[in-house]
Amino acid sequence: MTSTASSRPEETARPPAPPTPATLLRLFVGVALSGIGGGLPAHARRAVTARGWMTDAQFAETYTLAQLTPGPNAVNLAAMIGARLCGPAGAATSVVGILIPGLIAMLAASAVTLGAGSGLPPAVQSGLRGAACAALAVMLSAAIPVVRVGLGVKGGLILAALTFLGLGVLRLNLLPVFAALVGLGLYLNRPQRVPPPEEDHV
């Protein structure tokens, strides 16, 4: 990820101007616009670390947390960065900023494609079908790193496979599957007793 570490500038030279809700709004509109087609977390990271508002470690911690809270990751990340840098007002403007460009574009696309009803030109319909096939590939490629991390956890392979089976194949309701499998994962990864002071297990 950080293959261009050699170009790291000295950031101690000038103290960063503290973010305000308005600057966060502008920042996240820019992140949304540069993140067409994904990679939003990478753009957000670049934006906040380049301004000296967060270190890489702080960003990584916030990013992990954003993965854990329910809901869309990129929006969660914006809410958390905003809250951390500028309190509740910062969280609100960050969320609005990351949503606004896409919301406008999506409303326009909805009005055009859905407003036309079934009278959409055949070429547009088959174009959308082609795009849907590629969108599936986008989703699969985005899932790979998440799956890799998930399989690294104790019992990860079985838990991920059972989740896939329950939700994808059997089409079970999510909440019971969640309760059973996250419960099992909690049991497998339960906190160990504090080891005795003599370090016999290296």
Binding site: P72, I98, L99, R129, C133, A143, V147
Partner: protein
């Protein structure tokens, strides 16, 4: 569209937002919106997801599309606010609380338990979306080629999706 349907829409999207972990929960979206309520068709589900890939910002703006398809402009507003509002609020609160409790052993265990679940949710979504968006060998081929390009190269995914749209239009998919 009646007011009660609009409320049902808001509540359903609040629920869908709160139960999607680590990404997109397409499987549950399909089960509820297509199967249970018949608000949208499988084709609308796939189209909305594809359009979401072309939009600036988070690709789950597909929820706005599904809300619009169900109930027009009020529906789009209801689905968007319902889906993003509560989860964003929860995230902001979690960010403020995290610094105090992040080292608690049970919180670490919870994180480890959630990671494989999130992976399974994503893979289930791929399966369900594949069933509603791929209807032919040509479509499967486009998906496979797109996947190899995305996996092996640094090509922006928007270009891949637009390329597939052009190809689909030319082939009359």
């Amino acid at each position: 569209m009646s007011e009660s349907t609009l409320w049902a829409l808001v509540l359903e999207f609040v629920r869908l937002g709160l139960i999607s972990f680590g990404g997109t929960n397409i499987a549950e979206l399909e089960r509820v919106l297509v199967g249970e309520h018949h608000w949208i068709t499988p084709g609308t589900l796939a189209n909305g997801f594809a359009l979401g890939q072309l939009m600036p910002g988070p690709n789950m703006l597909a929820v706005t599309y599904y809300g619009y398809a169900t109930a027009g402009w009020p529906g789009a507003l209801a689905s968007t606010l319902g889906f993003y509002g509560p989860t964003a609020l929860l995230s902001a609160l979690a960010a403020l609380a995290w610094r105090r409790f992040s080292t608690h052993p049970w919180l670490v265990a919870f994180r480890d338990a959630l990671l494989p679940f999130g992976a399974g949710v994503l893979l289930a979504g791929v399966l369900v979306l594949g069933q509603s968006s791929i209807h032919s060998w040509v479509g499967a081929g486009i998906a496979a080629v797109a996947f190899v390009i995305l996996w092996r190269t640094k090509v922006n995914s928007v270009i891949v999706v637009i390329g597939a749209a052009v190809l689909g239009a030319l082939l009359g998919l």
